[in-house]
């Protein structure tokens, strides 16, 4: 019994610690890549080529003074970033890194991820309300409405992939792409999911609720030090989960490019990491390239453009699969 508990804790640590390290380096990568796109250098002072910048940021946030606003609901104020970060980390329990390399092989893995991202809204809305500040409140409401709207189209797009696979198990989704990755038959769906993932994680060009110049940085304006660090960590972990989900659902997870001799000897987790890195780069690339959407344009995009399109694509996929009798049997 004790051995089992220790083995569980070790498994969890093997996933969580690299994820947090990945988040730290992702913040650094974002600044460096944004800088390269803008023809400058980014942080280059702290370590060799600025590698220790993430560590320096972490230490700075740790030793800052934590300010608790007066008249704020202290319990909810403190709990909100904890909930946000906790839920993002919880999503990593079902991500398969390789054949059988998954912490919890749930048969409803996709629903679990969807539930975790639905619950992630609570971190935002509780923080905005508990800050007892008009700007934080408005920013939180905007961000919540945005996340809820784009979750609808994310769900419908997930259904497209699930129709082609026949199971909600994430490992089954990867294994169903052994003949062809889903990015080829479902290419428009892939683009729609990318856009919805950008909007779901409050990421540019949909970052109006939390940009520094708009509404004074939105729902995390009253948070200093560790609260802000937890929000930051939670948001970037969400981005990493979306990248992982994109590579699992569309790019074949841990499957190699072609299953022939030199490429199939490279271990699966390496391919998974490569595909995730490509999507992280794409997220940062999009941030540097496009101007921000105004809030009404953002909501119009979610409800009047992406929702009907993804709904129509579900009908198209279901129709084709039923008409040609290509429904998967598992």
């Amino acid at each position: 019994m004790l051995f089992q508990i220790i083995s569980w804790i070790l498994q969890i640590l093997i996933i969580v610690v690299p994820v947090i390290a990945a988040v730290a380096f992702f913040t650094l990568a974002e600044r460096k890549i944004l800088a390269s796109i803008q023809r400058r250098r980014g942080p280059a002072v702290v370590g060799i080529w600025g590698i220790a910048q993430a560590g320096a940021d972490g230490v700075k946030l740790l030793i800052k003074e934590t300010i608790l606003p007066s008249n704020a609901n202290i319990i909810i104020f403190v709990l909100a970033p904890i909930i946000g970060f906790l839920l993002s980390i919880l999503g990593w329990a079902v991500i398969p890194f390789g054949e059988g390399l998954v912490l919890s092989d749930l048969n409803v893995g996709m629903l679990y991820l969807f539930a975790v991202s639905s619950l992630g809204v609570y971190g935002v809305v509780c923080s905005g309300w508990a800050s007892n500040s008009k700007y934080a409140f408005l920013g939180a409401l905007r961000s919540t409405a945005q996340m809820v709207s784009y979750e609808v189209s994310i769900g419908l797009i997930m259904i497209n992939v699930l129709l082609c696979v026949g199971s909600l198990n994430l490992s089954d989704i990867v294994l169903a792409q052994e003949s062809i990755w889903f990015v080829f038959p479902l290419f428009p769906v892939f683009f729609m999911f990318f856009i919805s993932a950008l909007a779901e994680t409050n990421r540019a060009p949909f970052d109006l609720p939390e940009a520094e110049a708009e509404l004074v940085a939105g729902f995390n304006v009253e948070y200093s030090a560790m609260g802000f660090a937890l929000f930051f960590l939670g948001e970037y972990t969400n981005i990493l989960i979306m990248c992982a989900l994109l590579s699992i659902m569309f790019l074949g997870g841990w499957l190699p490019l072609i299953d022939i001799f030199p490429l199939s000897w490279i271990p699966g987790p390496f391919w998974f990491g490569l595909k995730m890195a490509f999507f992280c780069f794409a997220f940062i690339w999009v941030r540097a390239s496009y101007p921000r959407y105004r809030y009404d344009q953002l909501m119009r995009l979610g409800w009047k453009v992406l929702l009907p399109l993804s709904l129509a694509w579900v009908l198209l996929t279901a129709g084709i699969l039923v008409a040609f009798d290509w429904c998967p049997v598992l």
């Binding site: 609901n73 909810i76 749930l106 048969n107 409803v108 629903l111 679990y112 969807f114 539930a115 639905s118 619950l119 809204v121 609570y122 809305v125 509780c126 309300w129 409140f137 409401l141 919540t144 809820v148 979750e151 199971s167 909600l168 009404d296 344009q297 119009r300």
Partner: protein
Amino acid sequence: MNIEVLLFYIFGSLALVSGGLVVSARNPMHSILFLVLVFCNSAGLLLLLETEFLAMLFLIVYVGAIAILFLFVVMMLNIRVTELKESILRYIPIGGLVLIIFFIEVISILNGDLVPFFSVSNLSLANKAFLYQPDLSLIVWSNNIAPVTNIEAIGELLFTYYFYAFLMASLILLVAMIGAILLTMRKQYNVRRQEVFDQTFNNFNTSVRLVK
């Protein structure tokens, strides 16, 4: 004590306590957050019943959509924190009557015939041997021969034998949506809206002109 029994007690008691706190919290935001806790614990109880699909659906639909709807209403409508001016004794007559009715209902459902002599165990024989569990339990053989996931089971029944119920439910949701739109939408004649199609397909040559 079995871990499942322990988890049942934890989830059940947390759900009951949170339910009590929903109605007795002073701040309406706290009420809703306790309601979220009730839903989460109910999802945990559903997981113990091996209906993982329903548990996830509870989290997605109830916690992720309905409770957020309540949150929006409470936050935007500026409901004041109510002072408990009336004593709780005012509620005893009607509340006690409702309590007795519910109690009678629960007791009438309990039936001694439904409680098996030995516990039903869904573990495979190999797992039971590994965990040193004595083989006195009822073995559900169909799980060993043809395991069916929760979603397949629900789908096989819902879309074949009970499809009327499914279509009725979707029509009720449609009616609710149309009703909400009808009640709140007012025709506004002098509101200027964004015409995105005209904005994006505007011809540059005819929109800007250089005046010397």
